[in-house]
Symmetry: C3
Subunit: 261 residues, 3 copies
Amino acid sequence: MWSQFTMAISPDARVSPQARVAPDADIGPFSIVHGSTVIGPGARIGSHCELGHAAPDGDQSVLVIGARALIRSHSVLYAGSSIGDDFETGHRVTVRERTRVGLGVRIGTSSDVQGDCVLEDYVRLHSGVFVAKLCAVRQFAWLMPNVTLTNDPTPPSENLRGCEVGERAVVAAGALVLPGVTIGADALVGAKACVGIDVPPGMVALGVPARITGKASGVRLRADDPQAAYPWIGHFHRGYPQDVVESWKRKPNEPERSDVP
Amino acid sequence: MWSQFTMAISPDARVSPQARVAPDADIGPFSIVHGSTVIGPGARIGSHCELGHAAPDGDQSVLVIGARALIRSHSVLYAGSSIGDDFETGHRVTVRERTRVGLGVRIGTSSDVQGDCVLEDYVRLHSGVFVAKLCAVRQFAWLMPNVTLTNDPTPPSENLRGCEVGERAVVAAGALVLPGVTIGADALVGAKACVGIDVPPGMVALGVPARITGKASGVRLRADDPQAAYPWIGHFHRGYPQDVVESWKRKPNEPERSDVP
Amino acid sequence: MWSQFTMAISPDARVSPQARVAPDADIGPFSIVHGSTVIGPGARIGSHCELGHAAPDGDQSVLVIGARALIRSHSVLYAGSSIGDDFETGHRVTVRERTRVGLGVRIGTSSDVQGDCVLEDYVRLHSGVFVAKLCAVRQFAWLMPNVTLTNDPTPPSENLRGCEVGERAVVAAGALVLPGVTIGADALVGAKACVGIDVPPGMVALGVPARITGKASGVRLRADDPQAAYPWIGHFHRGYPQDVVESWKRKPNEPERSDVP
């Protein structure tokens, strides 16, 4: 099943004989795959990437990348992280050691995910997002361009506390979440907000410092449109698998379609 | 006129035989030029670049780069965009598909210009600027370091509305412009502002959320100097062609020098 | 002592015969070392870097990198800067021309240090930091993720005034310091602050625009912990040499241990 060198590896790529690369994976010119790397079937790795970069703390565990990954140029993924199927990145993405990335996650250009983070299934990070060590982003959450998640209440210190962004929550462009803060499920953080308080599920937080200003369900898609913008799963489905979208359309207590007689 | 391989192409560059590269263009080591690329005379392309990267939506149109481009290392320019003469970038710049870039535009290190944008003649983007899809920056406008232009009022949605920065307007460092907002010609947005309202021509907007605080023409170059800092074309000419600077010095209704008998 | 090519230089690196590289230095694949570069003993240069990049203003002076540098992939360092021993960078770091970097400095991933800057001994820049031309960061100071130091009070202009961050001062994530501002020694700037006033030594500045809100020594490490978080040298020692930490433990007028009979 696994092969070290295939036709789809550019002659200008450098792939360690110890790396385990699926035979149908593409690896672009001037990319480097270190020995501590496992790349699943159907992967497309762009140019100028470095996969399986050694962790600075000497962690010897491998980088595992699932099936059908699309990793764009100049990205650097460290050894010791595990990444689910259908992973997609922009250019120049960094993912450090011991980060767990779920299914169908997308990370935008120039985003930097530090070590020991969790990005659950179908999380979306747009461009320029910074995720500090120990932060967790729950499934279907969105971090828009230039969002910053932090972890040190009194920098510099050894007293790190990651923050958490809940399921389907949205943090708008340029916002920053302070250490230890929890953004609740289906919550909305406004652009440029600096969030130092927990945001309850389904609520909106705005400003510097951020205050709770109302319910996300009160935000309309357009001024002249009565449709609620949140929860966004009611109207935005692009890029998600059909079965995921179907699950969103069911009411909470409704059984899965396959269970219906 | 056009040639595929010249002496000035590094032996460590990879240039598609389908690419049309001016015979005097330099292409640095470890750079990649895909077939869907046209590079004009006098271009200097640094190392580790990727030009003509395929658009994810399958758009087959080419990347056209005008004369005398200076593209620094690790930059990625997509197929489907057109870029005028005398283009200059810093390092690690991204320009996505179907963006129209005018004459003499400069884009700083680590800036990320998404698809379907317009950057008119002599626009200046400093380092770390993010321009979302569908945004337009009019001629001579400046976006200072880490400025963010956004396009989605209720992220995530399909309801995108780009914002617009007017002619000669200046958006200072770290500011963010909300979707659909228009910054008027000769306006000034202060550092770190979050702009959710249209800024009339020639006015200053400051704060989070930004408010209109006065006229840009009331800002002085120095506390002890009566010279107005804005419009900046009255005192700042570095990097612009002589004919452009001459046009700034003429009064609005004065004819061009060549028309004077 | 100096040798141009050693076993530790990757065959896929391109090192100018004019460069002076210590014989035990490692240089990674697809990295470029221009002639105007001096690399000290024990250096480890990652992949896809470019060292000694020509300054755009034609400055012909060399790039000097001290002993034991660790420069991670995709970084670009310009000719004309001098860098002390034990330098360490993340990925995709840029340091422009005529910048003076002291001993033991660390610069995080995607940080961009423009020309004519000073980073004194043991300065720490985290990820995504932007340092404009003419800025100075004094010894032991910290700039946390996505901090921006600016230099132009009325952009664009020729009237540049760098800002200064004092010894052991900390600028928290996402903050911006306006041109000409001085952050005093041992001061603390809060996350997302926009600092337009000088911050006296040992004081805290918060908000947009930033106001002085109290003494840094009043900030506790934890709510239930009486230990002061600042000055941070009282509790945080990771990554500093033993002699430096010892010097912090002495009281201001206490002599060095070697001087004690």
